[in-house]
Amino acid sequence: MPWDLKPDRPIYPQLIEAIELKICSGVYPPGSKLKSVRDLAQEAAVNPNTMQRALAKLEEDGLIYTHRTSGRFVTEDANMVKQLRNKIAKEEINQLFQKMKILGFEKKEILDLISIMLEESDNK
């Protein structure tokens, strides 16, 4: 999964979101060890200090933790990951709603369209 960073938004929150997504999607499974700050910074092609700050925030949120001698790990709390996953999903759907609203769709229409499209993609 690439680090898809947009040029017009601050890098720090984008790194947090990218790591959250990697945790929720299982790229970084619960309890797994994270790479070093330098390696992660290199992978994302960002400043190491910015990566460090992002990791510190995730640690503050409890999503990752530091083991004194052996590095940083993803939380083992599956419930926490599940909650985050729901939060991200809701944000995505909210954005979809907003766009549909601009296009003038009613609630019912949105639901119907989603059902039809889900069925279509099942049949493929």
Binding site: P7, R9, I11, Q42, N47, P48, N49
Partner: protein, 232 residues
Amino acid sequence: MTSLLTCRNLTKSFGAKKAIDNISLDIGRGKIVGLLGPNGSGKTTFIKLCNNLLTPTHGELLIGGHRPGVETKKIVSYLPERTYLNDWMKVSQIIDFFKDFYEDFNTEKAYDMLKRFNIDPTDKLKTMSKGTKEKVQLILVMSREAELYLLDEPIGGVDPAARDFILETIISNYNENASIIISTHLISDIEKVLDEVVFIKDGQIVLSKTVDEIRDESGKSVDALFREVFKC
């Protein structure tokens, strides 16, 4: 924390023209700073002042507490905009040269980076393309365990793939006691790697902020803001 580089009211005049006009600036340790400005804004003059290749007309400039000179050259690793290496030399000979010159030169690191860039140490400089020469120079400069790296246009002459590689080299060599100042006008390529940016125009600092402050306040990339500030 004391800053690594400090300048106060720094001015450099060439006749009536002020190439650097009353600049005051502090750069701490562990930072990657972009010195950004259009052609002729004073970037290279500033870097030359830091290297004692020019002396200030007014004001003060201190690196690690010293004025530029013998003491600062021990801790400053400088990549000039133009090559000064003898082109009849092999890369391995230049490495030996650097090892003699600088106590902090890490030979192992230099050979390791050459390998990563696929550069043969037995090649002579004059047989190399412009881009490869630039890579060799950057490798030499980054192979020192210096406290301040001054890179004057390090990515100007290389292709985009090599640019990425150079940025990776800069990130992988990062350490929290050292700082890197990169002067360039190719901003979009490097802005993600920078902590702070300093915009300079007509020898004066017009803006000095972190990349995320700029993006947060303006909703634009540093590159986009640069185009706005320096619109011709």
